[in-house]
């Protein structure tokens, strides 16, 4: 490339800024926001190498267009749009989960604020007591800790209870002959919101054979929504904690349950760190 060519190119760049127009600024803002969110989706899904690919495509286009003035520069916009749509299509469930993950913090925050720390500790102890008891008696259970962020279809597939949380109530729902035992219990803050809810099952061959439909349902719901599931296996009585579409703890102990419930009540619902309300 000759020196004159770049001097001429630089002159055209300066001319562009001299004739500054508001649409340049709008283009810049829209493109920055688009790039940032596409890169964030890729980074959150551990696909940082794809970001490199994205950058390489744009830079290659930049070189191609600056070398040949006849190339239509709107090829750039079309490429960006295509790549962004591709990323959105590939990560549609993850995007859906992050959008639903926001939940309704304000509503529950008010509820948690009005409750005393002792009330919440009591609720956590009751959940742990019920789960441990069901585990000892090999009663299958699936509890979803939600932040009002589940798709409406899941709640309407079950029965709305809106009951206070206590161990006998939880055990009564999952008692094998009870009408609502075959489904998930949805806990929202200080209430058992619904029971007998049907959840989307995760479809993958990567799971071991012993992972039954209850675990698959828990994996499925944590894939589409930012919720935490507690599963008690009917066959083995093993308690598992499932989050973000992964089995976070295969054999959860009392302290694991307590930690997870503390995270749910003190961080997820209030948006605050630690145990202060």
């Amino acid at each position: 490339m000759s020196k004159e060519y770049w001097a001429d190119y630089w002159k055209r760049v300066v001319d562009m800024f001299n004739g500054f127009d508001i649409h340049y600024l709008l283009e810049f803002i829209v493109l920055t926001v688009t790039f940032y969110y596409v890169f964030k989706i890729l980074k959150d899904n551990k696909c940082t190498k794809v970001i490199g690919g994205f950058v390489a495509v744009i830079l290659t286009l930049a070189v191609a267009i600056s070398l040949d003035r006849n190339t239509d520069s709107y090829v750039t916009l079309i490429m960006i749009a295509l790549l962004s749509v591709l990323v959105i299509m590939i990560f549609n469930t993850e995007i859906k989960r992050s959008i639903l993950g926001t939940g309704n913090k304000k509503h529950i925050k008010k509820e948690v604020d009005s409750a005393t720390v002792r009330d919440i500790e009591f609720i956590m102890d009751e959940i742990i007591r019920a789960v441990q008891h069901m585990s000892k008696n090999d009663i299958g259970a699936l509890i979803v800790l939600s932040n009002e962020n589940l798709p409406e279809g899941i709640i309407s597939s079950g029965t709305v209870i809106d009951a206070n949380i206590n161990a006998p109530m939880i055990e009564a729902v999952f008692y094998p002959k009870a009408p609502l035992h075959d489904g998930a219990m949805i806990i929202e803050g200080e209430k058992i919101h619904a029971a007998g809810c049907f959840l989307p099952l995760i479809q993958t061959d990567a799971l071991p054979q012993e992972v039954g439909s209850r675990h698959r349902a828990a994996l499925g719901v944590t894939t589409v929504a930012a919720v935490t599931s507690i599963v008690v296996s009917e066959e083995t009585g093993v308690i598992s904690i499932i989050k973000n579409g992964e089995i976070k703890k295969r054999y959860a102990s009392d302290s694991d349950l307590k930690n997870e419930l503390s995270n749910y009540y003190w961080t997820d619902l209030t948006g605050k760190e630690g145990k202060s309300v």
Binding site: R12, F28, F35, Y36, I58, L61, A62, S73, Y74, T76
Partner: protein, 36 residues
Amino acid sequence: MKNFWNKFWTALKTNIPLKLLALVLAGVCVLLINVP
């Protein structure tokens, strides 16, 4: 109001390398599209 600014600054301070990359690429694209 103070809470809003705290949240704003926290959001601004996260993912700085990604934000810078997005800014640079957007700048490159604006040049590509608009330089005659």
